[in-house]
């Protein structure tokens, strides 16, 4: 007999007993903090098993705790939360099947599976990518390469970027960006080392050519790494993508480009019905070995625009300041206007009739002033300020800065940098993201 118990221990600490196969889902509003302790049992967050009797804290994110075995969790939050508990065994069984099928592919070849995950909004794409990576770590010491092609999400980096990151150790379930990239000190979990490319605009439709070329750039780094690194190559590549409504679903130009650039051999479609999988298999029949559909989990919390923005703020904050577990100290640097060279990606909405003749992959140099830069997130490239600007198209991103203050009359500004250093002598790219501290 399984029923969910709910009992109040005191006004703030609550306990929930989760029967096996049940998922506990809650959205923690930005600004409030949820602390969860697994008192007993095996419980995991998106494939990462939680330690018992260790407090985990979450801020401004959605939390999914799945009970592998009957578990008891204790949680507290100053704000009134309404966790949802739902039976979710079947969904997880599908993921396990998928994982072990991938596992077998890893065992039987030196080239691991290269999986593209596609689907509409709120179908569990990112969670699936995270679970597949986490499970891959568990049996053997694999290092699956996690690729995030959704520029509205930040994975080991800020929204605006797309990234590729070998997952060689546990993901950080408390982090809004899945864990910390390399820091100067000690962190509770192992750091990750992402390759970061910048798209910088909020919407893919505003500059599809730039999005495609950014993918090409990321993929070229990935292919090079896979060539050099037999462990990552064998572990395979898991690619998360933007929701379908942001992509061209008539000619499937972006999906086709991703398949080509990353040598995709399997597609996982997150969808309620078979239609999408059928259409994709018709379009990409010749290129793709397997297309598998996974129905979305029942426990999903749809992310609307407001939540997306709140989550992006949390991610930006975490990039500079870290988490409660790993506190980072960013560095504010003053600089004269003349010390910065800033470019801006083009945006198709700004062009009229002559749209077709414009090369949208070109960056325009912009004037350093408050109307352009106030509160802006800027991507710092690895390209020297003095170098020719067409190198920007192949630039890697070494980090992001936040312009906190611009004084037009003194021609001075202040930049928040993640790293304690002077303002790098590098070309910078303005993103569409703003952050007011």
């Amino acid at each position: 007999m399984e029923f969910v118990e709910f009992s109040e221990v005191s006004e703030t600490t609550k306990t929930s007993s989760l029967p096996q196969g049940h998922e506990w889902t809650v959205q923690v509003p930005a600004g409030s903090k949820l602390t969860v302790i697994v008192k007993y049992g095996i419980a995991e967050i998106l494939g990462t098993e939680l330690a018992n009797d260790v407090p985990y804290t979450f801020q401004g994110v959605i939390v999914n705790i799945y009970a592998i075995e009957r578990s008891m969790i204790e949680w507290k939050c100053l704000e009134e939360l309404e966790p949802k508990v739902s039976e979710n065994k079947s969904y997880h069984a599908y993921i396990y099947n998928l994982n072990f099928a991938l596992e077998r592919l890893r065992l039987s070849s030196f080239n691991g599976p290269r999986v593209l995950i596609v689907g509409n909004a709120s179908t569990g794409k990112s969670s699936l990518a995270q679970m597949l990576c986490s499970y891959a770590l568990k049996i053997r010491h694999y290092q699956p390469l996690l690729v995030n092609l959704n520029p509205q999400d930040g994975v080991f980096s800020l929204p605006g970027s797309i990234t590729a990151t070998p997952i060689s150790e546990l993901l950080d379930v408390e982090s809004s960006i899945w864990g910390q990239s390399i820091t100067t000190g000690a962190t509770k979990l192992h750091n990750k080392q992402p390759l970061v490319k910048n798209y910088g605009l909020e919407n893919i439709r505003d500059n599809r050519p730039l999005y495609l070329s950014t993918i090409t750039q990321l993929a070229s780094g990935v292919q090079q790494r896979l060539k050099n690194d037999p462990i990552v190559r064998r572990s395979g590549v898991i690619i998360d993508t933007p929701k379908l409504s942001h992509l061209d679903t008539e000619d499937w130009s972006e999906v086709g480009h991703m398949i080509e650039q990353f040598d995709i051999n399997a597609i996982v479609v997150c969808a309620e019905s078979d239609d999408l999988a059928i259409e994709l298999s018709e379009v990409f029949r010749t290129k793709i070995g397997s297309i598998v559909r996974i129905p979305p989990p029942g426990s999903i919390i749809a992310i609307d625009d407001i939540m997306r923005r709140a989550l992006q703020r949390v991610q930006i904050r975490e990039y500079f300041y870290g988490t409660t577990e790993t506190v980072l100290s960013p560095y504010t640097m003053g600089a004269g206007f003349e010390e910065l060279t800033v470019f801006r990606p083009r945006n198709i909405s700004e062009y009229g009739e002559d749209k077709k003749d414009v090369d949208l992959t070109v960056f325009d140099k912009i004037e350093v002033n408050s109307s352009n830069l106030q509160h802006a997130i800027i991507a710092i490239t690895n390209i020297s300020r003095k170098e020719s600007q067409d190198k920007l198209n192949t630039a890697s991103i070494i980090g992001y800065g936040l312009i906190t203050e611009v004084n037009d009359s003194k021609k001075k500004l202040r930049v928040l940098l993640p790293v304690p250093s002077r303002i790098p002598d590098r070309a910078m790219i303005l993103t569409e993201y703003r952050y007011l501290e």
């Binding site: 260790v54 077998r104 390399i182």
Partner: protein, 587 residues
């Protein structure tokens, strides 16, 4: 009455109340008398009692309620008015915190409040009492799910529907056999903590079985679990024997697999199926099911009866109590007294862990992913919510590696290699922890380690990067020092130096009334901030040279550029830079 009298009475009341750590009639009487004699202090007394109800340990809360009860019944208004205000909240909170025995006593007390006073009215405010009653009705509904009157309990113990002939005696003999096997294993590996725990549990289970009268269904579940463990033990033992015998007696005849059944029969007296589920890869129960364990949880000890109650309810053998009401609640809780006196079984989690680990090892024996051709990346295989092979393989992700890191949850197996990895892993945690918490001392200050994010690698650096640099456990906590920064700037922005510089601070001097200093190099003003650890206001990233304060980073850069005699920016030129301080900064 003078105010001194008042404060004396208050003091006396408080001291006496603090002494109420046991159920003492004299203390309660004294407090009631004080309350009667000093009506003007009613509000203060009520405050003290409420405060104690909030703060004292749960086991003493009831006595404090008794004081309140006594004062209200003897002194009446205004105490009853004051207490009415928070009564519901305090009652509810206390009820949730105390054990069932105390709960019953609280309910008895509550029942007396529902009896009208001689004047015809109730002692406390009606709305307050109503909300307590509603609360108790809800609480009693919860109890109903698990509790059952003692009469029925006895009845079923004799005519249990399970109707099997499993007896405590037969189980005891099973346990003894299993204990024997486990102990003999322990002889060869005396340090095995799992085995030790297993022996201890078997022992405890034995005691428990002797002590308590248990429902037949419960017995049969214990029996099933024992059977499984037994089969597994037997199989392992057999394998070992075979391995040992193999080189010695090539011709000796091995027992056919079916003979394992005879062992089962031997231990289980007929009522069991003979197919121990140790044979085929796909056969048998795949998921360790824990009803037996559920029954052993301390928090839910009455659960072991709940399934029985449900069964009886279905057959309409159970008398259903009428509308849940306060007067029946106490009776419902009573059976719990007896069970709460019995010795506690090992915690649910310990049992779940040990039996789960054993099960996982059993399930994953000889499992080979590569040869399992059913594992296809196909729609047909993936959309299958209970494929037997997956249900076995899942153990690989969890309990097949039984040693779970208590810090991060990562699992390690039992092989030598895995044990070695586990040791390295724990060692890594230890070093990281020390570094996170640690105090780093340098020449002038000792501060907490401050860290920042590093720059990302560029494409070429990343393509050549090896994860080993991050995850190798023998490296000193990650890659701070070896971490490449972007090439051109490597020289002047070595992160370690900057971290060190920013750790420099100056305690804000008393004469700095505006709490800020202006760095002569960058001309920025920095305000003091309060450092919790030091308990002082400080300027961070600050260094004092003579009577001037600089940003340590600015000073460092300026001094460095002057030292290397490169083009120094005009603003630096009129500064007398002390290279001695520059060197000290780097230490």
């Amino acid at each position: 009455m003078s105010s001194e009298d008042g404060s004396n009475a208050l003091e006396e009341f408080k001291t006496t109340l603090d002494g109420l750590t046991f159920n003492s009639r004299p203390i309660i009487t004294t407090l009631t008398q004080l309350a009667e004699e000093h009506m003007s202090l009613a509000q203060e007394f009520v405050g003290l009692i409420e405060n104690r109800l909030e703060k004292c340990v749960p086991s003493q809360k009831l006595f404090t309620f008794y004081v309140m009860d006594s004062i209200c019944k003897n002194a009446g208004s205004p105490y009853t008015i004051y207490f009415s205000k928070n009564l519901h909240k305090l009652f509810r909170k206390t009820y949730l915190l105390v054990d069932n025995q105390t709960r019953t006593k609280m309910i008895s007390m509550f029942k007396t409040w529902m009896v009208p006073l001689p004047a015809g009215d109730l002692m406390f405010d009606h709305s307050s009492l109503n909300s307590i009653e509603n609360f108790l009705i809800k609480a009693s509904a919860l109890h109903q799910k698990s509790a059952t009157p003692p009469a029925i309990q006895q009845h079923t113990a004799h005519n249990g529907p399970a109707g099997s002939n499993i007896t405590v005696k037969s189980l005891l003999s099973d346990i003894d056999k299993l204990a024997l096997i486990t102990q003999s294993k322990l002889v060869s590996t005396p340090d095995d903590a799992k085995l030790q725990a297993k022996v201890a549990i078997l022992k405890q289970l034995r005691q428990e079985l002797q002590k308590e009268r248990l429902a037949p269904e419960f017995l049969s579940q214990v029996h099933q679990q024992l059977k499984q463990i037994f089969a597994q033990e037997h199989q392992q033992q057999q394998q070992q024997q075979q391995q040992q015998q193999l080189p010695l007696q090539n011709n000796s005849q091995f027992l056919p697999p079916s003979s394992q059944g005879s062992v089962n029969n031997d231990m289980s007296r007929g009522s069991l199926q003979a197919n121990g589920n140790n044979g085929s890869m796909f056969g048998g129960s795949l998921q360790f099911n824990a009803p037996f364990l559920n029954q052993l949880t301390n928090s839910n000890r009455l659960n072991k009866l709940s399934s029985l109650v449900n069964m009886l309810r279905e057959k309409e053998l159970l008398h259903e109590p009428g509308e849940a009401s306060i007067t029946t609640l106490a009776a419902k809780l009573e059976p719990e007294f007896d069970s709460s006196k019995t010795v506690q079984l090992p915690s649910y989690s310990l049992l779940q862990d040990i039996l789960g680990d054993l099960e996982a090892q059993r399930q994953t024996q000889n499992l080979d992913i590569l040869n399992a051709s059913v594992l296809q990346l196909s729609q047909q295989f993936v959309l299958n919510d209970n494929h037997p092979i997956t249900e076995k393989l899942v153990h690989f992700l969890y309990r097949a590696k039984p040693n779970k890191c208590s810090i991060c949850g990562k699992r390690f197996g039992n092989t030598l290699e895995e044990k070695e990895l586990e040791i390295q892993h724990l060692d890594w945690h230890f070093r990281v922890n020390k570094k996170i918490k640690g105090i780093q001392s340098n020449t002038t200050t000792s501060t907490k380690v401050i860290q920042s994010r590093n720059w990302y690698l560029d494409e070429n650096q990343w393509a050549d990067f090896k994860e080993e640099d991050i995850i190798a456990t023998d490296i000193d906590t990650g890659a701070a020092e070896q971490q490449p920064t972007f090439a051109n700037n490597r020289e002047d922005s070595t992160d370690a130096i900057y971290t060190k510089l920013r750790n420099k601070y100056i305690v804000v001097p008393d004469y700095a009334t505006d709490m800020k200093f202006q760095c002569p190099i960058c001309t920025e003003s920095t305000y003091g901030k309060y450092d919790e650890d030091l308990g002082e206001w400080i300027w961070s990233n600050c260094v004092q040279v003579g009577d001037k304060f600089f940003h340590a980073t600015c000073y460092y850069e300026a001094a460095k550029s002057q030292q290397s005699n490169t083009s120094s920016s005009p603003s630096f030129q009129n500064l007398q830079l002390d290279l001695g301080i520059f060197n000290e900064l780097l230490q």
